[in-house]
Point group: C2
Chain length 444, copies 2
């Protein structure tokens, strides 16, 4: 067949890019586990009627059907478009076998039939954490989630040179209480318009609030003033108070948000900001909401977000409230890898290529490779007993740093970057720790 | 919504089962990397016409369509049913950026709309390795692939107690040469019938060969005799020679198969057997073929298989021959995990639960947890400042072995299995290595 072309919206990496992605995922899932989140994987499909319940997103669903579907076939299926809907189903299905509060992480592809464009994909990887209670879930978990998120991002910054992030937090109770205190009924209508604050600016939002929702100029101004408040410490509370609005829900929201900011400020100073314009669109959040921006790449939009929902799922008798957070892995990585900003030092795991003198001695080379592998060193045996120059070239093309010569009779190893060569024993030699696995790093 | 029911053919694990699966996948992919295979991940969908080219499997394809597909939408898509078709497309698409011979591994879900039954799934995970050449690929890679496979299975046996395996190998050239040497033209017709040897026995195969293909009784007997030959050493060569058939292709096949057996016999004695009835149905293999059986669970059928193909892909000018092998991860694990034969010692990664005296001191507990995590210990903080008995119960239900008391003022750690408690410093204490991560083991 002729050379196939990529499918728009379905990003794929070359091997070096996948090595980068795997390293990132190792850090992400390793950190989730350090915080006690258990792994879960759900099937890729859900019954279509369950997916379509979230009306807003309906048009983006991919339907899945057998090519030769038969009359007796079960319900229609669709590919999941996030990891929350399948996780809610998983919790209900297995609630008798899970211990609550249940902490789980889940890293999988999701699919959305969106029109592909910069930063939007039809297939992409998300990494989610959620903590779910049975009946109730304590408020301190709203503080815990951003600490886990920042632990992940700090490691990605420290170990791989990814940009730092700013996690922007708000609270739906705060906003809703404030709007109610102003005598506004359609609080979600206000939230939808405030969501456009960053795009259109405060004046345009005020116009939408008066023009579309019929708010008074004073009401609109107060809403826009609230949205303009942000602080990396608890000072936002005073600034909200200064607006003179009173409501029980507002007090509750202020308390919760202040609690998140206070702990985060001590744990990871400067990375978390109370930002009262964060609205998270029409999502089903009911309390704390999180958005996360790569410092210097704010235009990319939020790359990781989440929040508190009073009801992740309900079986009619028991309700399962939760708080969760989702890392847009592809959203973060595809631009960095695609533009060569985040690279691996080699395109293969191999640290060593064992050279082969002639095809008759291949078994000795295999034995040397086996001895090195037994001590955790990734090794390839040269595919052909070529001239040594050609075998070195094989290693160079892949970024393999060491070539092993004289396998089994006069063992020595050569660092092909420096040209240094020294005698070595297959049962003892190990590459320097920094060469053991491909190095992943950022270039500016 | 009411409690959802599982979808038949789409297996999912509880968290402890997923911990087991992850451990297995770590061993599998870690071993692939030690052998220098680079990671690749391809999108879940391929153009439907590319998938449907492999006619045999057409009925099993899942078609994917946007719920609100539009006129201008691109070609129809289907979910991939194996990892070979997408990999072949990936090689063609990226051949200019890959170094050949190209060694890659790929671990992903695949989907087949088969009627669900014992050991058959509609969604399952495969782990594939392939070595692909540009134009040509040396025969010694046919020897290498089963050594990698056996390295994986030996570790799964040694570290997790999975059953040992027997890898059964044959060679299409050997069979085809033998049939041609007998004067048979329809060699693939013979192969298809010999494929039923294990199910129906030698006499029934002979009847099919004479009845359906019109072979003479002598020809049929020779084919069945060949299929009956197997040996863990090179003695099969003499037994084939004793049948008195001659053909160049037969000589070639015998040489290649003897080479595989010779090396494997020295590297992993007793695990690899030349078995001349292995046919691998109608697959596109052209030389060496592999099937793998769990010792004691042969009824499950082959759980991992592969072979040599002269043309994985071709762009019209260049042909890419390869040799590959696919582990049926779900096929191997779903029965073992489902029946409790392969279990994890706990349902969470956490080795330690930090108890909380009262909600005011939660931050001290968080600080202790952070200190432990910084040294790689997975930790949860108790979700509620309950009576200590209740907090210990929280740990017990999840299998967490240690509970930390007096966080920040009188630190001590208790092994809740033995009841032993001792003073401990958050900056120095580490659990015994065997408790650091959940232990995965087999029960008989």
């Amino acid at each position: 067949m002729p050379r196939p072309k990529p499918l728009s919206g379905f990003p794929e990496f070359l091997p070096a890019g996948r090595i980068v992605e795997n390293r990132v995922l190792d850090i992400v899932t390793g950190t989730f586990e350090l915080h006690g989140f258990a792994p879960v994987e759900t099937r890729a499909v859900e019954p279509l009627d369950q997916l379509a319940r979230k009306g807003e997103i309906e048009k983006e669903i991919y339907v899945v059907r057998r090519l030769h579907a038969e009359a007796g076939d079960a319900d229609e299926l669709g590919l999941h478009f996030d990891l929350t809907v399948p996780f809610a189903r998983y919790v209900l299905e297995n609630s008798g076998h899970l211990a609550f509060p249940f902490r789980r992480y889940q890293v999988q592809k999701v699919w959305r039939g969106e029109r592909p464009q910069e930063g939007r994909y039809r297939e992409f990887t998300q990494a989610d954490i959620d903590i779910v209670g049975q009946g109730a879930l304590a408020a301190h978990h709203d503080v815990e989630i951003p600490l886990v998120a920042l632990d992940v991002f700090e490691k990605l910054h420290r170990d791989l040179g990814l940009p730092t992030v700013t996690l922007r937090v708000n609270n739906r109770r705060l906003s809703e209480g404030f709007y109610r205190g102003l005598g506004i009924e359609d609080t979600s209508g206000v939230l939808q318009r405030v969501d456009k604050y960053d795009k259109v600016g405060p004046d345009a939002v005020a116009e939408l609030l008066t023009g579309e929702l019929g708010l008074s100029a004073a009401q609109a101004k107060a809403c826009v003033d609230l949205a303009g408040i942000s602080s990396a410490d608890e000072s936002f509370v005073e600034r909200v108070r200064a607006l003179g609005v009173e409501h029980d829900l507002l007090d509750e929201g202020l308390d919760q948000l202040a609690g998140v900011v206070r702990v985060a400020q001590r744990a990871v100073p400067g990375r978390l900001v109370a930002d009262l314009k964060i609205a998270r669109g029409l999502d089903y959040y009911t309390g704390t909401v999180y958005e996360t921006f790569l410092d210097g790449s704010e235009k990319l939009g939020s790359v990781a977000s989440g929040g508190r929902y009073d009801s992740l799922a309900s079986d009619g008798k028991v309700t399962f409230p939760g708080v969760g957070y989702s890392f847009g892995i592809t959203r973060i990585l595809a631009p960095l890898i695609g533009r060569g900003k985040l690279t691996a030092s080699r395109s293969v795991p191999s640290a060593v290529l064992v050279a082969v003198d002639n095809e008759e001695s291949r078994e000795q080379a295999i034995a040397v490779a086996g001895a090195l592998r037994a001590r955790g060193v990734a090794v390839e045996v040269a595919p052909k007993a070529d001239k040594f120059g050609k075998q070195i070239r094989y290693a160079e093309r892949r970024g393999i740093p060491f070539v092993w010569f004289g396998a089994g009779y006069d063992d020595s190893v050569k660092d092909i970057r420096s040209g240094e060569q020294e005698p070595a024993s297959p049962d003892a030699w190990t590459p320097p720790i920094e060469d053991l696995v491909p190095a992943v790093s950022s270039t500016s």
